[in-house]
């Protein structure tokens, strides 16, 4: 063992250790402080005989002359096993519940390895979340990374919990006019909390308990009062566990990462302590690359049964979508579900802002066999009509309701009904995709028939009942 007491400087979460030998980049370090406390760390940089170490659990209680620094000759690892299911760990993967230590099947570096692009299988299995705003317009597919862009005080936790609770993959259907029934399969949830409050974490744990989902969940908790730098490791712990469950145990894993904003702040703290040239708003220039090393761990791999679907949650500082954290996230993930404060104020749950939300994998996940033949056309029509309704509403604010054409008035009525009946639903209401589509069709009847341009005539004939058509 290589142990040193040669720390020269301690700056924030960083230690500069001198006269070291054979230290390697990324190596795991154990620190022992004079008060007997310990911290894990890793090597951020090594220059001849000087190592820069980042302490995951902080440097409180440390002192240069009396800190023991041990280099462990391996990188930060997680011992993984199926027995992790049903267990709660801290942000560095140590049991936080009363259960026993995990006896690992294998130990894996938490940094993982990039999936070879030629080995990826394209995500195209529709996941029915039971939430119309998602299933109808921005569907989630297996292996996708689809974040929730939220803000403080918005019900992102409820939405994420609802998605985790209700998600089901549908059987393929031979009939283009009918969606298949939900499929039973090996399913797991990996939950990583970074910097959220005890109460928020408790909400999820309760949720999982009440629905007995806890038996197929693995939780990694770094809470608000846990060391900030530890958060840099937490999502990687979670993804290492998820990869094991997906690719070694053939499970379909949903990974919820919350809150990515606190993760990024931890990264910024380290970067500032290193006196790196900051990028926008003080975040390091490599934030994009760093986030990609987390988000790109979602996916499917050819020849393996399991998959990793990610739903990261991030609270947008100031509800600002151009803030580097949501911005860089959106550049990496396959779409985003954006929550809106105004809808929330008006009591619409889930307050999904449909227009800026997007699922990039939508085309691949819907249609005959997967959901239903009319799904794509109908969702385009709903989108277009809602966008136009909102525009007409804006116009009405300036010019008065009376100035609107009849068609525009119909679009305004449509927009209101769309928010009340399509977007809004109960936090425990699980709508099948066919139910979601029928609500969509009911709303389409509010539009003048001549404006229903984006749907093929044969679908209009098949899915808009004669009676509904007549009221149009």
């Amino acid at each position: 063992m290589r142990e040193y007491m040669t720390t020269r400087d301690i700056v924030g979460p960083l230690l500069l250790v001198e006269s070291v030998m054979d230290v390697t980049y990324g190596e795991l370090v154990e620190l022992e402080f004079p008060d007997g406390t310990h911290s894990l760390g890793n090597v951020l940089e090594v220059n001849q005989d000087v190592a820069l170490v980042q302490a995951f659990e902080g440097t409180r209680g440390s002192n240069p002359a009396h800190t023991k620094v041990r280099f462990l000759g391996r990188s930060l690892e997680l011992g993984v096993s199926r027995d992790m299911l049903g267990r709660v760990f801290d942000g560095l993967g140590r049991p936080r519940d009363d259960g026993p230590e995990i006896i690992p099947e294998v130990r894996r570096s938490i940094y993982g390895q990039p999936i070879n692009p030629t080995a990826r299988d394209f995500p195209d299995d529709f996941i029915q979340t039971g939430v119309s705003a998602i299933d109808g317009l921005n569907p989630l597919v297996r292996g996708q990374k689809l974040p929730i862009f939220s803000g403080s005080g918005l019900p992102h936790n409820d939405l994420a919990a609802q998605v985790a609770r209700q998600s089901a993959v549908l059987q393929r259907s031979d009939d283009p006019t009918k969606a298949g029934a939900p499929l039973e399969g090996e399913f797991a949830v990996v939950f990583a909390a970074m910097g959220i409050t005890f109460e928020d974490a408790d909400f999820f744990i309760d949720e999982f308990r009440n629905t007995s989902a806890i038996e197929r969940a693995v939780l990694f908790l770094n809470l608000a009062d846990d060391p900030a730098v530890e958060r840099i490791a937490t999502p990687r712990m979670a993804l290492t566990a998820a990869e094991y469950l997906a690719y070694d145990c053939d499970m379909h894993v949903l990974v919820i990462l919350t809150d990515m904003t606190y993760y990024c702040e931890a990264l910024r703290e380290v970067s500032a302590a290193r006196k790196e040239v900051p990028g926008r708003r003080g975040y390091p220039g490599y934030l994009y690359t760093d986030l990609a090393s987390i988000y790109e761990r979602a996916g499917r791999v050819k020849g393996r049964k399991g998959s990793i679907t990610q739903v990261p949650i991030l609270s947008m500082p100031d509800d600002d979508k151009t803030h580097p954290i949501p911005d860089l996230t959106g550049y990496i993930t396959e779409g985003q579900i954006v929550l809106d404060r105004n809808l929330h104020r008006r009591g619409v749950y889930p307050p999904v802002a449909v227009l800026p939300s997007l699922s990039r994998l939508k085309q691949k996940g819907i249609g005959p066999g997967k959901t239903r033949e009319d799904h794509a056309d109908l969702s385009n029509q709903l989108f277009g009509a809602y966008a136009r309704g909102l525009q007409a509403k804006e116009l009405a604010v300036i010019l008065g309701e009376a100035a609107l054409s009849d068609a525009d008035k119909a679009f305004v009525a449509f927009a209101d009904a769309f928010e009340d009946r399509f977007i809004a639903q109960g936090a425990h209401e699980d709508r099948s995709v066919e139910e979601t589509l029928s609500i969509g069709w009911e709303l389409v009847t509010l539009l003048p028939r001549s404006e229903v341009k984006r749907i093929k005539d044969e679908y209009v004939a098949r899915y808009m009942t004669a009676e509904e058509g007549a009221t149009a």
């Binding site: 980049y25 220059n47 151009t322 997007l358 007409a392």
Partner: protein, 597 residues
């Protein structure tokens, strides 16, 4: 070769000592596993090296081996249909070796050493040849004839050459230089990626690169050899637009560089391109495509190299006389890779932490595009068009990468998130985008599309611009404030936007539009416009005009496939018969809505 030792490791950057005989941009092998790296700075006997693989586990004292050669790519048969990482490692071979995940220290040559190709010479012993001359051909696949060239700067008399089946490293013949030196001729060339390949001279570009995307071809055309950029916030449609060009443009060879972007987008190309039919050859699209995939989670230094790897391949196909289009998605990720390495080198940062040489590097990269007279003894031209997407933080176009790019590119396709939210795709903003090739391609249009095409295009653009001004008035005081003629113009503008500009990349019958169809669409929309004005002056009500049944046909005209373009004739006659004055009627309630910007 000399060996050095690592002094320092900081992320992708390694500093080593003892590499005194090496040169800048030399390739080195780092650590026991021999990871690929490149020297990017030399101070005294210390060399800074960017490493193309994960550096975890490296430490001071580990060996660094010089190779004495710069970072290069292998050029020759076998590149098409391949997927490479940023330093030309074939990803499918790496998968065979190491499985689904990219582990360190694995490698495979860019060109398969075992595979044999049927070579047919076009020169004979005794003939004089110089660099760039065609020695012979290999039918690489159903689409591309691979022309085997004399390597640049080599000159002499063919001593022997023979048809046959060869690997890329077996000699197909020999030549004798004037100095009497015997040079082996093999099909593979090795070329340093950071050095542009030579050409005789650049020629002014005049022919459009048709893309099948209407807003591009008609309003903001790119040329064979031209350079364009697509900036836009996430979700605005950069990647889809680039995929559209990769699929439907009339380039003969397509190089697509996924530079720091999503893994699934590469998978998408890999799964879709073998299925899609090239409209020009009828063969699968992948056969004319080379993919360079260095996704966001792959090593950042290799991302920096990926654009050079790609453009060198593009130049090589250009030298054979092909028109090549190279797409880099996204150049911002390349710039960020430069920034990251520059930060580790502790260079003085410029704007937003980017290195001060950002502008120079971008300009030098785009400068490698162009239509050229190929370096060879014959008259041969080839071209490289470059399309780079830019991902500005927060969609803010004032940031350094966009600004430095705009200085060098001639075509600017500005994507607007507002249009994307309305699902107006491609979300290319017709008011701020531009193409400086417009006048240059007009003669080609007159000859190959129609003599009226340019005028129609300009007329439509004028209508769209006028719509924008009028929309402001409508917003403030309502539609009634507009004259009847202005109201017709608003309807026509809406028709241009919806029936022409909007183009769904995911509809088989919409994703590709020929120039012929684009011209017919413009003609039809403008005919409706003129006839509506005429009919109105003769007393037709606006309501009736706007509700004319032919409008439905106009709206669907863009879905007409090539064989059915004759139907435009019927639409025209419908317009003539339906848009007539029918006595005076002053009911002018309007149906115009939306579209004000």
């Amino acid at each position: 070769m000399e060996q050095g030792r690592i002094l320092k490791v900081a992320g992708p950057l390694v500093v080593a000592e003892g590499l005194v005989d090496s040169k800048m941009f030399d390739l080195v092998r780092v650590g026991e596993e021999g990871l690929m790296g490149e020297i990017i700075e030399m101070r005294g006997d210390r060399a800074s090296i960017q490493v193309y693989e994960e550096t975890e586990g490296l430490g001071p004292g580990d060996p660094v081996e010089a190779t004495g050669a710069p970072l290069s790519v292998e050029l020759g048969p076998g590149m098409l249909e391949a997927v490479y990482d940023g330093v030309q490692r074939p990803l499918d071979k790496l998968e065979e070796q190491a499985g689904a995940f990219l582990t360190r220290g694995i490698s495979a040559p860019g060109l398969d050493r075992e595979r044999r190709w049927a070579f047919t010479p076009v020169v004979e012993p005794g003939m004089r040849v110089q660099g760039g001359d065609i020695l012979g051909t290999v039918q690489e696949n159903e689409v591309i004839e691979h022309r085997i060239l004399v390597p640049p700067h080599v000159e002499g008399t063919i001593a022997d050459i023979a048809a046959g089946s060869y690997t890329v490293t077996e000699p197909v013949g020999h030549l004798t230089t004037d100095a009497g030196e015997r040079v082996e001729l093999i099909m593979m060339q090795v070329w340093p990626v950071r050095t542009p390949r030579p050409y005789k001279k650049k020629i002014s570009v005049a022919e459009p690169l048709t893309t099948g995307t209407r807003v591009i071809d008609t309003f903001f055309p790119l040329t064979k050899g031209g350079v364009a950029c697509i900036p836009g916030p996430f979700g605005a449609g950069k990647t889809v637009t680039q995929h559209q060009i990769a699929k439907w443009s009339n380039a003969e060879v397509v190089i697509f560089i996924g530079c720091g972007e999503r893994g699934n987008e590469m998978t998408d190309v890999l799964m879709e391109f073998p299925e899609l039919e090239d409209p020009y050859s009828g063969e699968p699209l992948l056969k004319r495509t080379v993919l360079v995939a260095n996704t966001s989670n792959m090593p950042v230094a290799a991302r920096e190299a990926s654009v050079y790897t790609g453009i060198t391949m593009a130049e090589y196909f250009r030298d054979m006389g092909y028109n090549v289009v190279l797409q880099a998605d996204s150049t911002s990720r390349w710039a960020e890779a430069m920034r990251e390495i520059s930060g580790r080198l502790e260079e003085m940062p410029g704007d937003e932490g980017f290195p001060a040489y950002l502008g120079t590097k971008l300009a030098a990269f785009y400068e490698r595009a162009g239509k050229v007279e190929c370096a060879c003894g014959a008259d041969r031209t080839g071209s490289v068009s470059v399309v780079g997407s830019v991902s500005p933080p927060g969609g803010d176009l004032s940031e350094p990468v966009v600004q430095n790019t705009l200085r060098v590119v001639k075509v600017f396709w500005a994507l607007q998130d507002k249009l994307a939210y309305e699902r107006h795709f491609p979300a290319i903003d017709w008011l701020t985008s531009y193409s400086l090739y417009l006048d240059k391609v007009t003669p080609w249009w007159s000859e190959h599309v129609s003599p009226e095409f340019r005028a129609r295009r300009d007329r439509c653009m004028a209508i769209l611009q006028r719509e924008n001004e009028l929309a402001e008035i409508v917003r403030l005081v309502g539609l009634e404030a507009l004259s009847a003629e202005e109201q017709i113009l608003m309807e026509t503008a809406k028709s241009i936007r919806e029936d022409f500009l909007q183009q769904n990349a995911f509809r088989d019958d919409d994703q590709f539009s020929s120039y012929r169809e684009q011209d017919l669409l413009l003609e039809t929309i403008l005919l409706f416009h003129e006839k509506a004005i005429e009919a109105h002056t003769k007393g037709a009500s606006l309501r009736d005009l706007f509700a004319a049944p032919v409008r439905e046909r106009i709206a669907r005209a863009k879905y007409l496939t090539e064989e059915r373009l004759a139907e435009f004739e019927e639409i025209r006659s419908d317009i003539e018969t339906q848009l007539v004055g029918d006595g005076f009627d002053d009911d002018e309630t309007l149906v115009y809505a939306g579209g004000e910007r």
